[in-house]
């Protein structure tokens, strides 16, 4: 009942406030910020107006006929039922219109396919349900997933009003950063199922398919933040793997790149340090909980109960309460043919050790053993 009330109340409120709060909602395709996106927009508008023009003629004739050729107006039915001339005209004229449409479409398509002479390349890998960005030749490699605020608000029955969350469902923890006025080539693939990488302001989407490497490119004109989403159904959290691209000036980009490299070095050093010394079980449990929350809950659920038939339970699970070697293997290497992916590239040694220890000693499990980061490092 409460939910229904809430539904009606928010419905009424939003209807009243629509002109104020969401005055800028989109009706049309964005023009975008690349030469390609503008060409696509122009094509879209051209075909739209062609359709409108044909619609005016076709529906106009229909409406005219419905008004004037009705029995109640005393219309007497003519009995003609064919005309070679008319048939020829409405076969040939649409054909000519189509040819006129096909010429610019072909031109744009050829341009979009030409990813040659790119200034830099980024490998984009789709995972259930996050993106991984690898800057080829730069030693920069990170994952990008839904930001914490949106993630909290989007849980069923969270009672958090999405309108209070900034960029609800369109915000990530680590945005992709690229320089302005630079031809960036994207190499798209996926590790588990098919995803599709789409930022409307760039004018295209491209599928990320396991076993394939697809190519696409952008050259953005204006610095800014551009948002998009995964466009190919990829399972339970398909709606929750947004894409955010920050386009920076070349100088700012260089600064960011250096900082990012530094951060990744620091993280690697921190990991090595952690590996070199023993970590207390208490610390592992604490860290394990955060890792679990951001990586495991989507499938295995908040209390570790899983979803019968698709996602096994952590609580009392065969793996999670069995021999620890198998547990480590499953966490690091995943299970082929299922949604359980290999986490060894996504998580550090400390994070892996922490989450495995946590799963064995929390969520209703009391196995009592733990694993040190050094043991994980030794298995790599």
């Amino acid at each position: 009942m409460n939910k229904l009330k809430q539904l009606f109340a928010s419905g009424a409120l939003l209807t009243f406030m629509s002109s104020v709060a969401h005055a800028e909602y989109g009706l049309n395709m964005p023009v975008g910020v690349t030469e390609t996106s503008r060409q696509v927009y122009d094509l879209h508008m051209l075909i739209l107006w062609v359709c409108v023009a044909i619609g005016v003629v076709v529906f106009g004739a229909m409406i005219w006929s419905m008004i004037f050729h009705r029995k109640s107006q005393g219309a007497v039915a003519a009995q003609f039922h064919e005309s070679m001339t008319a048939e020829l005209v409405w076969t040939v004229v649409p054909f000519i219109i189509l040819i006129v449409m096909a010429i610019p479409a072909t031109k744009v398509l050829i341009d979009m396919h030409d990813a040659s002479e790119a200034d830099m390349s980024i490998k984009v890998t789709g995972y259930q349900w996050k993106w991984r960005y690898e800057y080829i030749g730069e030693d920069v490699d990170f994952f990008s997933s839904l930001d914490a605020a949106s993630n909290e608000a989007r849980q069923v029955g969270s009672d958090i009003d999405p309108a209070t969350v900034e960029n609800y469902l369109l915000n990530v923890d680590h945005p992709l950063v690229i320089p302005v006025n630079t031809k960036v080539r994207f190499l798209l693939t996926a590790s588990d199922v098919i995803h599709s990488w789409w930022v409307p302001d760039f004018g295209w989407k491209k599928d990320a398919i396991p076993g394939y490497i697809n190519e696409a490119w952008v050259k953005v004109d204006e610095p800014g933040v551009y948002r998009g989403q995964c466009a190919e159904l990829c399972g339970r959290d398909h709606g929750f793997m947004p894409i955010v691209v920050e386009v920076k000036s070349e100088a700012d980009y260089a600064v960011w790149l250096a900082a990012q490299k530094g951060e990744e070095v620091v993280a690697a050093v921190a990991n090595e340090l952690a590996v070199s010394e023993a970590v207390t079980t208490e610390d592992l449990m604490k860290k394990g909980e955060t890792v679990y929350q951001s990586n495991c809950v989507a499938c295995h659920q908040a209390k570790g109960e899983g979803i019968p038939g698709v996602f096994p339970a952590i609580t009392g699970g065969v793996i999670t309460t069995g021999p620890i070697d198998q547990h480590i293997d499953r966490a690091m290497n995943g299970k082929a043919g299922t949604a359980m992916m290999a986490y060894k590239d996504q998580l550090t040694d400390v994070e892996l050790a922490a989450v495995i220890t946590y799963q064995r000693n929390a969520l209703g499990n009391k196995v009592g053993d733990s694993v040190q980061p050094s043991a994980i490092a030794a298995l790599r």
């Binding site: 939910k3 419905g11 939003l14 209807t15 969401h22 800028e24 909602y25 989109g26 049309n28 395709m29 964005p30 094509l43 879209h44 075909i47 739209l48 359709c51 076709v58 529906f59 006929s65 419905m66 050729h69 029995k71 109640s72 219309a75 039915a77 064919e82 005309s83 008319a86 409405w90 076969t91 189509l98 449409m101 096909a102 398509l109 396919h113 608000a153 989007r154 849980q155 969270s158 999405p162 609800y168 469902l169 199922v193 098919i194 599709s196 004018g203 295209w204 396991p210 076993g211 190519e215 989403q229 466009a231 159904l233 399972g235 339970r236 959290d237 019968p308 038939g309 698709v310 299922t338």
Partner: protein, 527 residues
């Protein structure tokens, strides 16, 4: 329903229908089986509609209020499977069963026992499909397009879905064989091919499409089955297979399937518009050739569903040009319908209203289809609500509207009772206003960047989703009203004449209302 025409020289007494429930189980009568198909389709329309209501309820506002995202995916997947294979296709087969033998002047379908079987497979197939909701892991949730590798992650319901699809395919192929054999063998003397009503023609061509592509789907889903259970790697890149191969096979079935869902609709509308314009159909032979051209083109355009998978440019150009070409024969049809109305003497009873609604809104769906054909623009439209709007315009206000039109047009013939005209018109107007409130804003949502198949969305999409949901609820309710109208007409009402409609032409109007149990036992004379 037990009327037997007086001129039958009846030596035995078992020619009426059997009594009770067994009449429907064992029947081999084309009209009984047609009725079963139509009622089954109406039931599935309500089941699929209920799922659509869940979808629209969750999408009414941002945030997740009612269902888990996993269940939401099950809803979108099974809604599509039920509506396509359970509602629209059986409705057309039901109409074919009822009308084809009568329209060609025959006594029954050519293969009556197979006819019984092809219907009775369906309730079992759908029981199996719907039972997956109660299994571990729930119903299939990978989308009706069942793309691997995602679909292979499903729960215990997966093999049940595969076998349900096999059974639906067997049913469809048997139905199609029956249609072809009936049309080729049961025509009354003088009923040459080019004298057949267009509904017969469009079904004739549809039946060939069915026989050509349903086995392809069966093959594709069997490969999924062996990939999951027998360690093959047809579609698994890690084992040397190819996930995109599935999409090519699926859409080689899927695109002709789109025309399976719309060609019979063309036939129905081509029967109704001349009746209420009191004027012969304009360009009969060009209609036949246009239908055949569309059927041919439907086999060489499949990859326009896959412009974003990364095909070579030559492939994308070919599929773009071929797809655009379909606009030509489709345009011919629309122009012919308008020319039929032109200078007619029109009245606007419910079947005519639904037919005109069909022509206008199917054309809108055709326009968005033409936009989607432009590959570079499709990179933006693909997998967004723009696509959702497009295919609902062609399937709901297209296929479903034609079925409604046909139902109102022939109900008086089937039952012997007139439906309530005032209620019919109310049903049309409520449906038409609400269906546009439901689907038109989805064009804007897609253009503004909302992907399809998502249970929750960013707040800038709120208004249009609310409009869409409100339209959806009203449209859903108005179909319950339709069920009531049909029920009332079956139960009673003003008696229909044999002619029913002043301007109607064709053999069905020469029979009594309702027609005799064995339709034409003596071949009628064809002018």
């Amino acid at each position: 329903m037990t009327t037997v025409a007086a001129d039958i020289h009846d030596d035995h007494h078992d020619h009426g229908p059997a009594k009770g429930l067994m009449r429907w189980v064992t029947t081999t009568n084309h009209k009984d089986i047609g009725t079963l198909y139509l009622l089954f389709s109406l039931l599935m329309f309500m089941v699929g509609g209920a799922m659509a209501m869940v979808i629209r309820l969750e999408l009414f506002q941002p945030g997740l209020q009612f269902v888990d995202p996993g269940f939401f995916n099950q809803m979108t997947t099974v809604h599509a499977l039920v509506m396509i294979f359970g509602a629209v296709m059986p409705a057309f087969v039901g109409l074919a069963n009822w009308m084809l033998p009568i329209m060609v002047g025959g006594p029954d379908m050519a293969l009556p026992r197979m006819n019984n079987w092809s219907f009775w497979i369906l309730p079992f197939a759908f029981t199996m499909l719907l039972s997956t909701f109660f299994m571990d892991g729930g119903a299939p949730a990978g989308g009706w397009t069942i793309y691997p590798p995602l679909v292979l992650q499903g729960g215990n319901g997966f093999p049940y879905m595969i076998f349900a699809i096999h059974m639906m395919g067997i049913s469809s192929v048997m139905g199609a064989i029956n249609v072809i054999v009936t049309i080729l063998n049961m025509r009354a003397p003088g009923m040459t091919l080019m004298k057949m009503p267009l509904f017969v023609w469009t079904w004739f061509i549809t039946a060939y499409l069915l026989i050509a592509v349903m086995p392809v789907l069966a093959g594709a889903v069997t490969m999924l089955l062996t990939d999951r259970f027998y360690d093959t790697s047809f579609f698994d890149a890690a084992g040397g297979g190819d996930p995109v191969l599935f999409q090519h096979i699926f859409w080689f079935f899927g695109h002709p399937e789109v025309y399976i869902l719309i060609l019979p609709a063309f036939g129905i509308v081509s029967s109704i518009i001349p009746t209420f314009a009191r004027k012969p159909l304009f360009g009969y032979s060009s209609m036949v050739y246009a239908t055949a051209s569309i059927a041919f083109l439907s086999f060489i355009v499949w990859a326009h569903h896959m412009f974003t998978v990364g095909m070579p440019i030559q492939g994308e150009l070919f599929f773009m040009y071929a797809t655009m070409l379909i606009a030509v024969p489709t345009g011919v049809k629309v122009f012919n319908w308008i020319s039929t109305m032109w200078k007619g003497s029109m009245t606007f009873e419910t079947p005519m209203l639904f037919s005109i609604g069909f022509v206008i809104m199917f054309t809108i769906g055709g326009f968005s289809g033409l936009m989607l054909a432009i590959a570079p623009a499709d990179f933006q439209y693909h997998d967004t609500y723009f696509v959702v709007a497009h295919f609902h315009y062609v399937l709901v206000t297209g296929a479903v509207y034609s079925i409604m039109a046909g139902a109102y047009y022939w109900l008086p013939k089937w039952t012997g009772n007139m439906y309530n005209e005032k209620m019919g018109q109310w049903h049309f107007w409520i449906s038409t206003v609400s269906v546009n409130v439901l689907f038109f804003p989805q064009h804007f949502l897609g253009l503004a960047g909302m992907p399809r198949r998502i249970p929750d969305y960013s707040v800038q999409f709120t208004e249009f989703n609310m409009w869409s949901s409100i339209g959806g609820f009203v449209f859903g309710l108005s179909q319950v009203f339709f069920c009531y109208i049909v029920y009332k007409t079956i139960k009673g009402g003003e008696k229909a004449t044999d002619q029913v409609w002043e301007g109607a032409e064709g053999l069905e109007w020469t029979l009594s209302s309702p027609p005799p149990y064995h339709s034409f036992t003596t071949a009628p004379e064809i002018k």
